[in-house]
C-alpha cells in the first residue's frame, strides 16, 4: 500500500494538471452566461441571452451551417479515401510503401499555414478560387492523415490472417472485406472520421486562405468578431463548440473506446 502522503501528492498533481488544461475552457463557459454586453469573469448573474443572440443572428447561423457542412463533407471524403488507401497500402508489398505513407501523412508535419498557403496557390493556379468546394477539398487534405493513420494502425498482421481464413472458407475478396476486414477495423475508421470532423470544424489555418465573404467558417467568424467586439457571444459559440466536440469524444468512447482509437488496436472485448 502506498503511503497516504504520496497519494495526496499524486492527486494534487492530477488536479493541478486538469485545472491547467480545462480551467481556461471553464472560464470561457462561465463568461458565456454573462447577462451584460461585455466579457467579464466571474460572471455577474446568469443568462442565456448570448446563446439566443448567436442562434438568432443570420451571420452566426450561416457560419455554423458552413462549418458543419464542410466538416461533414470533408470527413466523408477522407474516411472513404483514407480507408481505401490504408487497406491498399497494407497489401502493397513494395519498398515504396513506407515512403508513400510518409508523403500522405505529411500534412500532419508541415506547418498549417504553409499547407494553407500551398492550397491557396494551387487553387489560384487552376482558377478555382472562390468556389465553395475548395474549402471542402482543402480540409480533406489536412484531415486525411488522421484517417489514414488510424485505419492503417487498425489493420494489423492478424487482420491479414483473418482475411486469408475467410478466403479459404469460400468468401470472395469483396465479401471478405465487408464481413471480416470492415468489422475488425471499424473503430479505427470511426475514430478517423470523428477526428477528421473535429479537425475540420475548428480549422483556421487553411480556412483563412480559402474563405470569402460568402463563405466564412465559424472559427474565422469568431476571429473576426473578437477583433471588433467584446460581447460574450464568442464565449457562447465557443461553449457550443466544446459541447459538440466533447460529445463526439464521448461517442467514440461509447462505440470503440478512445484507447482503441489512439492505440489503433481493435478491442473486441467490449
Amino acid at each position: 500500500m502506498r503511503r497516504l502522503g504520496a497519494q495526496v501528492a499524486i492527486l494534487a498533481y492530477l488536479l493541478a494538471m486538469a485545472a491547467f488544461l480545462l480551467g481556461p475552457v471553464l472560464v470561457v463557459m462561465a463568461i458565456s452566461v454573462n447577462p451584460f454586453g461585455y466579457s467579464i469573469f466571474p460572471p455577474r448573474g446568469f443568462s442565456m441571452r448570448w446563446y439566443l443572440e448567436v442562434l438568432n443572428d443570420p451571420q452566426w447561423r450561416a457560419s455554423i451551417g458552413i462549418s458543419l457542412l464542410i466538416a461533414l463533407a470533408s470527413s466523408v471524403i477522407v474516411t472513404t479515401t483514407g480507408t481505401m488507401a490504408a487497406v491498399g497500402l497494407r497489401r502493397w508489398n513494395s519498398a515504396f510503401r513506407d515512403g508513400l505513407v510518409a508523403v500522405l501523412m505529411s500534412p500532419l508535419l508541415l506547418p498549417g499555414l504553409i499547407t494553407g498557403l500551398a492550397i491557396l496557390f494551387f487553387f489560384s493556379l487552376v482558377g478555382a478560387l472562390g468556389a465553395s468546394w475548395t474549402l471542402i477539398l482543402g480540409h480533406a487534405v489536412i484531415t486525411y492523415p488522421y484517417v489514414l493513420r488510424l485505419v492503417y494502425a487498425a489493420l494489423s498482421r492478424d487482420t491479414a490472417t483473418y482475411e486469408e481464413a475467410a478466403r479459404t472458407l469460400g468468401a470472395s475478396p469483396v465479401v471478405t472485406f465487408f464481413q471480416v476486414t470492415l468489422p475488425l477495423i471499424r473503430s479505427g475508421i470511426f475514430g478517423g472520421a470523428v477526428f477528421a470532423f473535429i479537425i475540420s470544424f475548428d480549422n483556421i489555418t487553411v480556412s483563412i486562405f480559402l474563405s470569402n465573404p460568402r463563405m466564412v467558417t465559424l472559427p474565422i467568424r469568431i476571429l473576426e468578431h473578437i477583433q471588433w467586439s467584446g460581447t460574450p457571444s464568442v464565449a457562447a459559440i465557443s461553449t457550443m463548440m466544446v459541447v459538440v466536440t466533447g460529445g463526439m469524444a464521448l461517442l467514440i468512447e461509447r462505440i470503440g473506446g478512445l484507447q482503441s482509437v489512439f492505440g489503433g488496436v481493435p478491442d473486441e472485448s467490449r
Binding site: Y162, E164, A165, R167, T168, L169, G170, P173, P266, E268
Partner: protein
C-alpha cells in the same frame, strides 16, 4: 476425397528462392506431413496449395485437375492456421457456420451442420461464446471444426499444435489423427516437430532450404534416410566424419580423422575411395555388452548416463576425439567403466553429400 499432386513448384521472393522445384503426391485420404526446420519452405508450400501464395511456376492438381490459377475461395480446402485465425467479432457458432454460408449451404441446414462440426471436435456447448472466451486448446479444436464443416476435399494444417503446452499437444495429436481417420479427409500437415511428423503421417515429406529432401513413409525416412541432412534432422543420431577407404557390393568402410574404421551402407553417391563422407548411427542400434554383434566393434568408456524413464541415454567415448550415443534399457555399468560396444554395418548409413 481427393488426391493432391504438387508439381515442380517454384517461388522466388526478391531474389531468394523460397521453393525450388517442390513436388510430391498426397494419396486419397492420406495424411502427409511437410517436415523441416524453420525457413525450409514448408509453410510456403502449404500456402501455395491453399492458394494464398501464387507460385512462379508449377502445378497443383486435385484429382488430376490443375487448380494453380484458382483463387483460394474456389479451391474447397479447409485450412487451420497456426494462430487459428478465429474471427474475433463472431461467435464460435458463427465462425464455424461462416464457411457453410459462403459455400451457399441452404440456410435451414447451416445451424445443424455447424453444431455437428462442433460435436465432432467434442465442443458441443461453446457455440454462443466468442473466441477470446475459450482456451487455446478449445480454439484449436474450433479452428479444425471450422475447416472441416464444409466437407472440403483437402485439409491443410499449418503447425496447429505448436501453440499448445506439451501435455495438450500430445493429447491433440491423438485426437487429430483419430478425427482425420474418421472423416477420411486428405490432409497435409506442416510441422517442424519430427516426432509429430513421424507419429501422425502416412507419408512424410522432409524439406530443406526450399527443396524436398526425401519423401517416404515414416519408417523409410527413419531407417533409410536419403541424405545426411535427413538422417541428422530426423531422430537422434551420432555423426562421424571421415574418408571412404573401400566401397563395394558387400558394404562400405570409412576411416575417421582419428583413425577409426567404420562399416556402413552407402546411401548416396558412388563413393569412390578417398571421398569425404559422413556416417550416421542411431542410438538404439548400438549394443552395449559382451555379446557383441556386427562389423563395428569397439571398446568405449562410459562418459555420461542420463536416466530418461523407459531407457537410459549413454554417452560413450571411443577415443580422444570421438563419442557416440547409445540407449540402454537396463544399464549394468557405471560412469568410467570400459564396455564392449557394437553395431551392424546395415544399421549405419554413409553419405557422401
Amino acid at each position: 476425397m481427393s488426391r493432391v499432386s504438387v508439381r515442380n513448384i517454384r517461388k522466388v521472393y526478391g531474389g531468394v528462392t523460397a521453393l525450388n522445384n517442390v513436388g510430391f503426391e498426397v494419396g486419397d485420404g492420406q495424411f502427409v506431413s511437410l517436415l523441416g526446420p524453420s525457413g525450409c519452405g514448408k509453410t510456403t508450400t502449404l500456402r501455395v496449395i491453399a492458394g494464398l501464395v501464387e507460385p512462379d511456376s508449377g502445378r497443383i492438381e486435385v484429382d488430376g485437375r490443375d487448380i494453380v490459377n484458382d483463387p483460394p475461395e474456389r479451391r474447397n480446402m479447409g485450412v487451420v492456421f497456426q494462430s487459428y485465425a478465429l474471427f474475433p467479432h463472431k461467435t464460435i457458432l458463427e465462425n464455424v457456420a461462416f464457411g457453410l454460408k459462403m459455400r451457399k449451404t441452404p440456410a435451414a441446414d447451416i445451424p445443424r451442420l455447424a453444431q455437428a462440426a462442433l460435436e465432432m471436435v467434442r465442443l458441443p456447448s461453446v457455440g454462443d461464446r466468442y473466441p477470446r472466451q475459450i482456451s487455446g486448446g478449445q480454439q484449436q479444436r474450433v479452428a479444425i471444426a471450422r475447416a472441416i464443416a464444409t466437407r472440403p476435399s483437402v485439409l491443410l494444417l499449418d503447425e496447429p499444435l505448436s501453440n499448445l503446452d506439451l501435455k495438450l499437444r500430445m493429447q491433440m495429436r491423438v485426437e487429430l489423427k483419430e478425427l482425420q481417420r474418421q472423416v477420411g479427409i486428405t490432409t497435409v500437415f506442416v510441422t517442424h516437430d519430427q516426432e509429430e511428423g513421424l507419429m501422425l503421417s502416412d507419408r512424410v515429406v522432409v524439406m530443406s532450404e526450399g527443396r524436398v529432401a526425401q519423401v517416404g513413409t515414416p519408417d523409410e525416412i527413419y531407417e533409410t534416410p536419403a541424405s545426411s541432412f535427413v538422417a541428422d534432422f530426423i531422430g537422434e543420431a551420432s555423426v562421424f566424419e571421415g574418408q571412404i577407404t573401400h566401397s563395394g557390393p558387400e558394404g562400405c568402410v570409412m576411416r575417421t580423422a582419428a583413425g577409426t574404421l567404420l562399416h556402413g551402407v552407402l546411401r548416396t553417391g558412388a563413393g569412390p575411395g578417398g571421398a569425404s563422407a559422413r556416417l550416421i548411427v542411431r542410438p538404439e542400434k548400438v549394443r552395449i555388452g559382451s555379446a557383441a554383434q556386427g562389423e563395428n566393434r569397439f571398446q568405449a568408456t562410459v562418459e555420461h548416463l542420463a536416466y530418461a524413464g523407459a531407457s537410459t541415454r549413454v554417452v560413450l567415448r571411443l577415443n580422444a576425439q570421438e563419442r557416440l550415443i547409445a540407449n540402454s534399457v537396463k544399464p549394468d555399468f557405471a560412469i568410467g567403466d570400459t564396455v564392449e560396444i557394437s553395431w551392424q554395418a546395415v544399421a549405419s548409413s554413409i553419405f557422401t553429400d
